[in-house]
């Protein structure tokens, strides 16, 4: 494994030595494994550019906004992004592949070292987790798309009358609405032998089977002219990065865990080590909702490590009382092994299900309760809501919230068999059904009580203005009416439909769909 730190075109030998020192620790002590890394020390503006180009690869207003926002926040050191794991590139002289990571020159030594250790954690995930191996953004491809997008702008404007930029921007805006309608879990779908099916095709259903990747279906079946389809295809490809949400907690949790380990045991300079530890604590703040992946993730990895070191797994352990569990210690010392196993095969849902046991959840709830002293009077609505929430938390409820939160990270929509020719109240159109089958699992198993379930509908309904606006856009793309089957805030199935002129709401019993809410 090769590690190098560059500043401009030259190597920064001082920082290369430091980065190698950190790599030695994480590889030898934590048994991490990953490929070659090239760190690039850049200024704030370059880092903001890099971040913006990663998040918004196409040269649109969205890239401009993302860049300005990143530059402003980094400049003010507010929610600063300290690093950006970038792209793989082939060093042709050495004939080796490197992952490029950008570091902010303006950071302190402790901050840069924290970032390097954090990045090694991310890289281990990228190289070893079965889902992450496929999910990295390819910035070479992004650059090609960017070039092609600009070329399309020029080509479309060639007649001198058409504003190519405006035209493409219109498609980009529509495509952004489609972005979240991809299949987050394609690996779970069974392969269908289409050759046999097509030969014996007896129906004209479109689609023949339930389609989980709504964007792909629209891309393949809507009426586009060639350049429109090209832009939609680019955006579809770029939208695949949403799948990184599946391992968000593991990624950030593990990277923070590695960073903290290095700060506690690897860094020889005590001042730097202390600053690094403070930095981790700041980022892994359990009281900030946006920091949940860091806070929960790092705590869970620490819990796995402790349990693994003390042999707190398996049947022998699971039958003990809570008191005995907390005392159990067979000194097996397999903490790191357990962590590395967990990283390889899990996504966030599996991770939480398997490792967030009652003891962990109780301890985490105690941390959450410590935000305010016992006799504290809330001063804002946010504080009041937080205290109310925490007072009602139990391990079961917290686990459910975490699991359901991950499973429902994005609304899951699918097109049922024949859904592209659905005969609806506004005419024949496209039907999208919300998939709430994950809730059914919890309801059927009794983990969710009826009262709790009734309280959830308001969270999972899709009846809101954003969905209505999205529906209008879907009609524009599809060219015919589009319907979405969802639930209302009482959990009753309903349909909303748009035909380009109006959006209408239909309670389900007035519409004969014959389709169950839970798929």
């Amino acid at each position: 494994m090769k590690i190098i730190v560059r500043e401009g075109v030259n190597e920064n030998r001082n920082w290369t030595a430091k980065a190698k020192e950190i790599a030695d620790y994480v590889v030898n002590e934590l048994h991490l494994s990953f490929g070659n890394v090239e760190f690039r020390l850049v200024n704030t503006d370059e880092l903001a550019q890099g971040r913006a180009l990663y998040l918004a690869p196409l040269p649109t207003w969205y890239l401009g906004q993302t860049y300005i926002e990143a530059k402003e926040k980094m400049g003010a050191r507010y929610e600063s992004l300290y690093e950006m794991v970038g792209h793989k590139y082939k060093n042709t002289l050495e004939n080796e592949e490197y992952t490029v990571v950008y570091l902010n020159k303006a950071d302190t030594e402790a901050e840069i070292k924290s970032v390097i250790a954090h990045v090694y954690g991310h890289m281990h995930m990228n190289y070893n987790n079965y889902l992450c191996k496929k999910e990295n953004g390819d910035l070479i491809k992004h650059a090609i798309y960017r070039e092609r997008y600009s070329e399309l702008e020029r080509i479309i404007s060639e007649d001198g009358k058409t504003d190519g930029k405006k035209k493409l921007e219109g498609i980009f805006d529509l495509a952004q609405t489609l972005e979240t309608l991809i299949d987050l879990y394609p690996e779970t779908r069974s392969e269908i032998d289409n050759t046999v099916k097509n030969y014996y095709k007896t129906t004209n259903n479109l689609p023949e089977e339930t389609v989980y990747d709504v964007y792909k279906f629209i891309l393949d079946n809507a009426q586009f002219n060639p350049w429109e389809k090209e832009v939609y295809s680019m955006m579809y490809d770029l939208a695949q990065l949403y799948r990184m949400m599946r391992t968000k907690i593991m990624h950030e949790g593990f990277a923070s865990f590695v960073e903290k380990k290095y700060a506690l045991y690897g860094e020889k300079n005590q001042v730097v080590a202390t600053e690094m530890q403070l930095g981790v604590d700041q980022v892994a703040n359990p009281y900030e909702k946006t920091q949940l992946p860091y806070a929960l993730g790092i705590k869970l990895f620490e819990s796995i490590e402790e349990r693994g070191n003390k042999g707190r797994f398996g049947l022998r352990y699971s039958i003990l009382s809570e008191e005995k569990k907390r005392e159990f210690d067979d000194k097996s010392g397999k903490g790191l092994e357990k962590i590395l196993d967990a990283l390889r095969f899990s996504d966030d849902i599996g991770f939480i299900s398997a490792y967030a046991d009652d003891i962990f959840l109780k301890d985490y709830i105690d941390i959450l309760k410590k935000r305010f002293p016992e006799d504290y009077a809330p001063k804002t609505k946010e504080e009041f809501d937080y205290m109310e929430w925490v007072s009602e938390l139990t391990p079961r409820i917290l686990k459910l919230e975490l699991l359901i939160g991950r499973e429902a990270a994005l609304p899951s929509l699918e097109i049922p068999k024949g859904g592209a020719r659905y005969v609806g109240p506004l005419g024949v159109g496209l039907l999208l059904e919300q998939n709430l089958s994950f809730l059914k699992r919890y309801i059927d198993s009794g983990e969710l009580s009826k009262e709790e379930t009734d309280n959830l509908w308001g969270h999972f309904t899709l009846l809101n203005h954003s969905t209505a606006d999205s529906l209008n856009r879907l009609v524009k793309i599809w060219g015919r009416p589009v319907y979405i089957k969802t639930v209302d805030n009482l959990g009753l199935p309903c349909l909303i439909g748009g035909d380009g002129n109006k959006i209408k709401f239909f309670p389900i019993k007035t519409v004969a769909t014959g389709i169950s809410m839970f798929g």
């Binding site: 300005i68 609304p411 929509l413 809101n464 805030n489």
Partner: protein, 343 residues
């Protein structure tokens, strides 16, 4: 990186089209004085299918769906304002009669010439340094290393000139519309200062029931009391064109040499005029042969003078009816109607 620059421009354009920029008179004054004003622009996002009810149901994880709005701090400076105005142009139609001087660097192709005086001086210096002068005395013996050339010469450059007369109605009925009028005027001033400072003279006039020429600073003072008469304002313009006397706070009366320069007249008003019908349009008709363009901007629905202006039916007249809300979009549309490049 050019893609970032282009994308920033696209974003700025979008802010303008969506009218997110809430600038007021103080902001524009700061910008006109060379400052930068920081504004909060809401983060834009395209709608997505999201969870939750509109009135407080919790959204999903975020990640582009149900994202809470935050603002971007955006710096607005003259450059930004000018980028909104890039379609506004003045035409210069009168023949070139004015010249400014530029320096031209000479090269052998365009007339590099020996400067005799400097050549002799450098020859003398060489003779003194080498001792040749002491030996032989002064003798004109120019060697190649002595030759000095004229590398710069003055070059007269013809340029076209114009006078821009900005008239605003400051009668009491304009009081609720003052902010919009101020902002329109500031947009014009910024444009003229930046793009045409060398060859366009700015001239400011206020009127209620009588008109007076004022300085740029006084142009933004409060409304006058009294009635409203457009006639005196247009008579004053004619006085400037004819070189006759008129009321001025500047201490002198100007004469606009309309035969040699273009003349633009812009009138900002709510259209409520107390003069007898036809009297003002007669005054405008006498003015039209001498000017390049009359731009009439009526704000709001109350006034009727716009119909009289339309009745004049001249290619030298442009008019617009602006909504009274002092938004960027309104101002931009109105000024594009009046100053937009129609070619």
């Amino acid at each position: 990186m050019t893609e970032i620059k282009d994308s920033e421009e696209k974003y700025k354009k979008k802010i303008d089209e969506d009218d997110d920029l809430d600038l007021d008179t103080e902001d524009l004054l700061d910008i006109a004085n060379g400052g930068t004003v920081v504004k909060e622009i809401p983060i834009k996002s395209n709608p997505r299918i999201t969870y939750g009810l509109d009135n407080g149901g919790e959204g999903g994880d975020g990640s582009g769906a149900g994202k809470s709005r935050a603002d971007i701090l955006f710096g607005i400076d003259r450059k930004y304002i000018l980028s909104l105005q890039d379609k506004w142009k003045l035409k210069f139609t009168k023949p070139n009669r004015f010249h400014s001087t530029q320096m031209e660097f000479l090269i052998s192709e365009n007339g590099l010439q020996e400067n005799e005086e400097e050549t002799i001086e450098s020859m003398l210096e060489r003779q003194l340094v080498t001792g040749e002068f002491q030996k032989k005395g002064f003798k004109v013996d120019i060697k190649e290393e002595d030759i000095r050339y004229d590398i710069v010469r003055d070059k007269p450059v013809p340029y076209k000139k114009a006078t821009f007369v900005l008239i605003r109605d400051v009668s009491p009925s304009m009081d609720p519309l003052k902010k919009l009028a101020d902002m329109v005027a500031l947009h014009i001033i910024i444009r003229l200062q930046e793009e045409y400072s060398n060859n366009v003279t700015r001239c400011y006039m206020m009127h209620a029931d009588s008109a007076i020429e004022v300085s740029e600073k006084d142009f933004f003072r409060d409304v006058f009391s009294g009635g409203t008469s457009f006639l005196d304002a247009y008579k004053t313009v004619n006085s400037m064109l004819n070189g006759t006397q008129y009321r001025s706070m500047l201490g002198y009366n100007r004469k606009i040499h309309w035969a040699d320069e273009d003349v633009y007249v812009m009138h900002i008003t709510d259209g409520e005029n107390w003069d007898m019908e036809g009297t003002v349009t007669d005054e405008i008709r006498s003015m039209l042969p001498k000017i390049t363009r009359l731009m009439y901007m009526q704000i709001g629905d109350l006034g009727s003078f716009l119909d009289e202006v339309k009745g004049l039916d001249s290619t030298k007249i442009r008019y617009t009816a602006a909504k009274p809300e002092p938004t960027n979009a309104n101002i931009s549309k109105a000024l594009t109607d009046l100053l937009g490049d129609t070619e």
